[in-house]
């Protein structure tokens, strides 16, 4: 019998390194996109809405790295402009709906009883009215524009987050450590802030990240109805919708590139959110080394 001394190595460092790389990549991606969105409109000498029928539907090439669409507009430039609109709408709407949802869910879950009953029926009520109708109405109340779209997405999409948050709070609030916190003199607000929120954060973050592309599409639907931003202005969703028509004639670039650029920031944000969660989750290190 041999008495080999072998080692069960720590997987932690390797994991951290790999996670670190993808997080850095995500951060760089977001930074580049952000810079492009902020700077390109300042320095670009091309007009994103300039139609040039003679140069329509050119495949990606040197003059137009992403090609041109069926009206001869430069897809790259429009993607940058579109990102501006869509990122703004997506991020703000996601933040709004996640915040509202979290607040309502926390309130319902922590207060319980009648407050819970009423709040959850309000959630049901909001869920019952067709989202589209609701969204349309909100936009009509304000004048069409980015603000209206953001509010419309926010108002129609907070319910999912609210329900998730509430369900988690229901499970959390009977945990003994909450009792311990109460016993230490903590009031409701403190328990919510210091004990519930950190536990809920990953779920809320995930819901918010998922809301980003959703909001982009919501904006496009409204714009198609003439209630969002005018459909000839570049937004990623509008571009994909427009590009879909040329799909069958084999022109993939006018719809593929904007599609990629909805995905890219979403993935980057989600990677960052994951990293943040892993850093804050105390149990990250306690995962077994399997």
């Amino acid at each position: 019998m041999t008495t080999g001394t072998r080692t069960r190595p720590s997987t932690g460092t390797r994991d951290r390194r790999r996670g670190g790389r993808s997080r850095r990549l995500a951060a760089v991606t977001l930074a580049v996109l952000g810079l492009a969105v902020l700077l390109v409109p300042l320095v670009a000498r091309l007009d994103q809405s300039q139609v040039d029928l003679a140069a329509a539907s050119l495949p990606p090439g040197l003059a137009h790295p992403f090609g041109t669409d069926e009206l001869g507009r430069d897809v790259l430039l429009r993607v940058v402009y579109g990102l501006r609109v869509s990122l703004l709408v997506g991020l703000v709407a996601a933040a709004v709906s996640a915040t509202v949802g979290t607040l309502v869910g926390l309130a319902a879950g922590t207060l319980g009883g009648t407050a819970d009953r009423i709040l959850m029926r309000v959630v049901d009520g909001f869920n019952s009215v067709p989202h589209l109708l609701f969204g349309i109405f909100i936009v009509a109340l304000f004048s069409p524009g980015a603000t209206a779209v953001v509010i419309s997405v926010g108002v129609t999409h907070w319910m999912t987050a609210a329900r998730i948050v509430r369900s988690e709070v229901l499970a959390l609030r009977s945990r003994p450590f909450v009792d311990a916190a109460i016993s230490a003199g903590s009031g409701r607000a403190r328990i919510v802030l210091r004990h519930f929120l950190p536990h809920l954060a990953p779920h809320v973050a995930l819901a918010a990240v998922l809301m980003v592309p959703h909001a982009v599409w919501h904006e496009t639907a409204l714009s198609f109805l003439g209630l969002g931003l005018p459909p000839h202005l570049a937004s990623l969703g509008n571009m994909i919708n427009d590009g879909a028509r040329s799909l069958l004639s084999g022109d993939w670039w006018p719809s593929l590139f904007p599609g990629l650029f909805i995905l890219l920031p979403t993935l980057a944000i989600s990677t960052l959110a994951q990293g943040w969660r892993d850093r804050t989750d105390p149990r990250r290190r306690s995962e077994l080394q399997l």
Partner: protein, 232 residues
């Protein structure tokens, strides 16, 4: 005086305590013993105002408690500190040990140095304070919970099996610390334990040790009779 009169506790119609009466006078150690599952921890939770009894009253320094958990006035809640039986469950896994100990101070907006001092008194080394609960041993966590209980200088300390996870030496250390605190502040201590030897040693002569029978055994009696015996 922290006292409970005719306490009945039931979980979903399953009755755990049946008309139990107990009192914890300030400045003294009161013992509580009883078989496993007889309702000691439940009684402790009621006394800490965390669980609303099905019947009976709880009085803190003569004031009858009408609201429980969050609703009880924070001043009342922090008068009574409960050291939970299962430390792993009683701490938020996201807190560092220092956060755990200092939480009551943070709530009360008091300086945090007392937390570190207490932790040290309980034999926790400084390197432990930055770790999270699952990175320390159960005994270390239990000591953090004891330290937490003492941070706000409570008038009553309820120790629910405070020393189950501790070796004899640390056990002796903790009991000594608690006794020190009791003598210096005049707080009342309710010591819940199965370890009669420990209770004997801790409570000393003249102290009351309540013995809780299983709930089926009928009403728990007032001091000095029935299931309770007083050491002389």
């Amino acid at each position: 005086m922290l006292r409970a009169d005719g306490l009945t506790v039931a979980y979903d119609r399953h009755r755990v305590l049946d008309r139990v009466t107990i009192s914890v006078p300030p400045g003294e150690v009161t013992g509580l013993a009883g078989p496993s599952g007889c309702g000691k921890s439940s009684l402790a939770r009621v006394l800490a105002l965390l669980l609303r009894p099905a019947a009976g009253t709880v009085g803190v320094d003569g004031e009858e408690v009408r609201r429980w958990r969050h609703r009880a006035a924070p001043a009342l809640r922090t008068k009574i500190a409960l050291i939970f039986q299962q430390p792993r469950l009683a701490v938020d896994p996201r807190f560092t040990l220092l956060d755990v100990v200092a939480e009551p101070l943070r709530v009360a907006r008091r300086p945090l140095d007392r937390a570190e001092r207490l932790a040290e008194e309980m034999g926790l080394t400084p390197d432990l304070l930055t770790r999270r609960p699952h990175e320390v041993s159960d005994g270390q966590l239990q000591r953090a919970c004891v330290a937490r209980a003492l941070t706000l200088r409570p008038r009553y300390v309820i120790c629910d099996e405070m020393t189950t996870m501790l070796d004899a030496s640390t056990q002796a250390l903790l009991v000594a610390r608690l006794e020190e605190y009791r003598r210096e502040s005049g707080a009342g201590v309710l010591a819940i334990s199965h370890d009669t030897e420990l209770l004997d040693r801790w409570c000393g002569p003249g102290a009351t040790v309540h013995r809780l029978g299983p709930a089926e055994a009928g009403p728990g009696q007032a001091d000095g009779t029935g299931g309770t015996w007083t050491r002389t």
